[in-house]
């Protein structure tokens, strides 16, 4: 049972109060995108062993979507942050690096 802090409410919500939304920081590909770009956006999901960014909705709470940086192996939560960003904020990156100094951000989608 994951326990994540909603960055809007500041509450530690348990998994049953949340709704999962899959991989975070996807960049939408619209009608102009090529088949390859659209396929990548629609279907190619990371299956990270280690640092992973996820979308969660505080569904039984404030109803807001937020993002979580989490380690899929150790279950450590590096932090949660509001969804209105294209890339994790610096404090999240710092928290990850503190534990995994070798970790390299992958902001191919970030602007």
């Amino acid at each position: 049972m994951l326990i994540l802090t909603c960055p809007y409410c500041g509450l530690d919500a348990e998994e049953t109060e949340l709704h999962p939304g899959g991989e975070a920081h996807l960049k939408r590909v619209g009608p102009e995108g090529s088949d390859e770009e659209f396929e990548d956006y629609m279907f190619a999901r990371k299956n990270a062993k280690g640092v992973h960014f996820e979308r969660w909705r505080h569904a039984y709470g404030c109803g807001k979507w937020f993002l979580a940086a989490r380690d899929t192996v150790t279950l450590q939560v590096y932090g949660t942050y509001r969804a209105q960003t294209h890339a994790p904020p610096q404090d999240i990156v710092d928290a990850i690096r503190k534990v995994r100094p070798d970790w390299q951000p992958d902001w191919s989608h970030a602007e």
Partner: protein, 172 residues
């Protein structure tokens, strides 16, 4: 036979208004129209008759005597006429319960994963009650809990069941 942990009663006669707006821009206007201070995040402010609850960073719920609802909506609409805001009467969309008694918190603790010890006197917690959405806050002698109208019977059932006499959570 022991007594129920708390009395569970359906409460009628309350109006409710959902207000969605940028609270940092429109807070003062809302406060004036509603007649209550804007609550902090996860809190509810009250004057005994009306209450104003924080539902999300851009949503408040005004709870008031039902007959005051139309005037309050009009006042809010007028106050926010120049702003991007949404005001909706949701009085009929809700079911309200009062859970009153020495062990009212045991009843809530059987249904919601919310951390009750951490719920301040003026806290409003949106969570779930068993399998349906609910929000609750403290009132004299217990809690007031709101859920959706369609699940009122379900809520009544699970609340009554959680209040079963002799089933207090104190260690035996």
């Amino acid at each position: 036979m022991a007594e129920a942990l708390a009395t569970v009663a359906r409460l009628d006669g309350l109006g409710m208004i959902t207000i969605r707006a940028d609270l940092s821009r429109s807070g003062d206007a809302i406060a004036e129209a509603a007649g209550l201070a804007i609550p902090d995040a996860t809190r509810i402010s009250t004057d005994g008759s009306r209450s104003l609850g924080w539902m999300s960073p851009d949503e408040l719920l005004l709870i008031l005597p039902a007959q005051e609802t139309p005037d309050a909506i009009a006042a809010l609409e007028q106050a926010l006429a120049a702003e991007h805001a949404l005001i909706a009467d949701v009085s009929d969309a809700r079911a309200v319960f009062e859970v009153i008694g020495d062990h009212a918190s045991d009843v809530i603790a059987k249904l919601s994963p919310a951390h009750l010890d951490a719920l301040p006197q003026d806290g409003l917690r949106r969570s779930r009650a068993a399998q349906t959405a609910a929000a609750f806050w403290r009132v004299d002698g217990g809690f007031r809990l709101i859920g959706f109208r369609s699940t009122a019977d379900y809520l009544d059932l699970v609340l009554q069941s959680a209040a079963c006499p002799g089933s207090g959570l104190a260690p035996r």
